[in-house]
Symmetry: C2
Subunit: 264 residues, 2 copies
């Protein structure tokens, strides 16, 4: 099960929008896909139109109560399944802090499902705490949505440090697959500077770096109001506005990600 | 000391951009202002051109080592001072979790400075954990930057629940001063819907609600690339592009906030 952690501790850079729409794009390409919402905001859950009832188990129960994934996962369509989140997750990091297996809870819970899905996509919260570490332990690769803004660029080195630390101590197979430019506005000075900076940085990677071979994906996601509207209908961009730039950009990105596949 | 917590757990809605530029606007109006960076990303610190050295104390030391504020605060200009942040802060919540005074560490540390400043502005991280709670215990009011998007609107009720909980148990004077529409694009359907929704919601508040009397400020902050460029020069919008829409919008917001002052 190829697992992509969609992670950037910078807030509002398009993590949820990317996680949901690439998961949907993979499912449209007949892949069996599991989307896991790891954010207490539960925006990925909302975005696909799922509204867990007060007694329904969520990813909070996976972390804190060791509830089996089979009891939590639910189908969104014939190829896409979801492990939903809820606001309770805000308290989970403190509750698992003292557990011996605190970084491996998620990867252990998913062990029985490795062959049930082709792809797994993790929507991460805007932080690098224990929940994000759990995502990095489960993941085979990290997909970094990046808004081409200065503040968004600042956190990149810290994110790469965290990925390196997890790769060295908990998940040797982890690597960075690349950066996807999101909320992209063609032609602004800032976009060109950020794109050049990141490409140069990746190009200079040593073979031992977690980001060796990573790149800025050709498919940038243009700013497109339809991408901000579709969550209010509980739909992915493909169900809401299939002919929009947003749908075209995410379909192209999903294809590029499948082409970029490395040997597991 | 009137203290504004700039808070919204939704990422990327303009918290840092708002905190830094209203603090600078207040200082230009001859107020003595303290800006406190409570985000481990340290973007407010970066935005005003401060780069703490590896041994310099930061807000991490205020929380974990009880270092006095006088040793941490530094002047940015003749009226604006800063308590800088650093990435270490990411570990602070776990380190203070068991302390008896864990929610009041910030407000106790600022006690000796209540009369040293007219205004204090808190830039918060995109979460509602212990650091954000500390901000709400110190604050007299909450300023909520809101991008007029569906996902950003979703978290509002959870944010108001948290403000209510802090007001009931830790800080009875706390109230919501209002919502500032940020990254605003005049005329989109989504902007109008969100603005109407929030105004109706505030209008229906009961006298006992923490958001009674709160409103959507008239001064919306329009999307303006200069606001995204100025942090890369370590400057506020007033120093970088004083004639831009960004500078005009933030100056108008600061004036509106000073007019909206309630009796402490
Ligand atoms: N390409 C795009 N064009 C227009 N709006 C977009 C685009 N991508 C995302 N958005 C909108 O921008 C906002 C931020 O995106 P999103 O919520 O996906 O970011 P995030 O990184 O998941 O945020 P958080 O850090 O809060 O988890 C949302 O309101 C979303 O609807
Ligand atoms: N009005 C605006 N016009 C254009 N760009 C803006 C505007 N306000 C903020 N930005 C840019 O949008 C991005 C998000 O803003 P900012 O970092 O201030 O949000 P935040 O809520 O503090 O994010 P986080 O949740 O990560 O702390 C930044 O790159 C910033 O430079
Ligand atoms: Mg998100
Ligand atoms: Mg910020």
């Amino acid at each position: 099960m190829r697992t992509l952690a969609v992670l950037n501790q910078k807030g509002g850079v398009g993590k949820t929008t990317t996680a949901v729409n690439i998961a949907a794009a993979f499912a449209r390409m007949k892949k069996r896909v599991l989307l896991i919402d790891l954010d207490p905001q539960a925006h990925a859950t909302l975005h696909v139109g799922v509204d867990p009832g007060p007694t329904d188990p969520t990813v909070f129960d996976l972390f804190v109560n060791r509830t089996p994934v089979a009891e939590i996962a639910r189908n969104v369509n014939d190829r896409l399944s979801l492990i939903p989140s809820s606001v309770d997750l805000v308290g989970a990091e403190l509750q698992i802090a003292d557990r011996e297996d605190r970084e491996r809870i998620l990867s252990r819970a998913l062990e029985p499902f490795r062959d049930a899905f082709d792809l797994c996509v993790l929507d991460c919260p805007p932080s690098l705490g224990l929940i994000a570490i759990n995502a990095l332990v489960l993941a085979s690769e990290v997909l970094i949505p990046l808004q081409p803004h200065f503040l968004a660029l600042q956190g990149l080195s810290r994110l790469l440090e965290t990925v390196t630390a997890v790769r060295e101590s908990l998940n040797p197979a982890l690597r960075v697959s690349g950066v996807v430019l999101s909320l992209y506005e063609r032609g602004t000075r800032l976009s060109q500077e950020v794109q050049a900076d990141v490409s140069t940085f990746f190009g200079a990677a040593a073979a031992t770096d977690a980001w060796f071979g990573a790149r800025v994906f050709d498919s940038a996601i243009r700013r497109n109001i339809k991408l901000a509207e579709c969550p209010s209908f509980g739909k992915t961009i493909f169900d809401y506005a299939p002919d929009s730039h947003g749908a075209a950009d995410y379909a192209a990105l999903a294809k590029e990600l499948l082409r970029a596949k490395r040997p597991e």
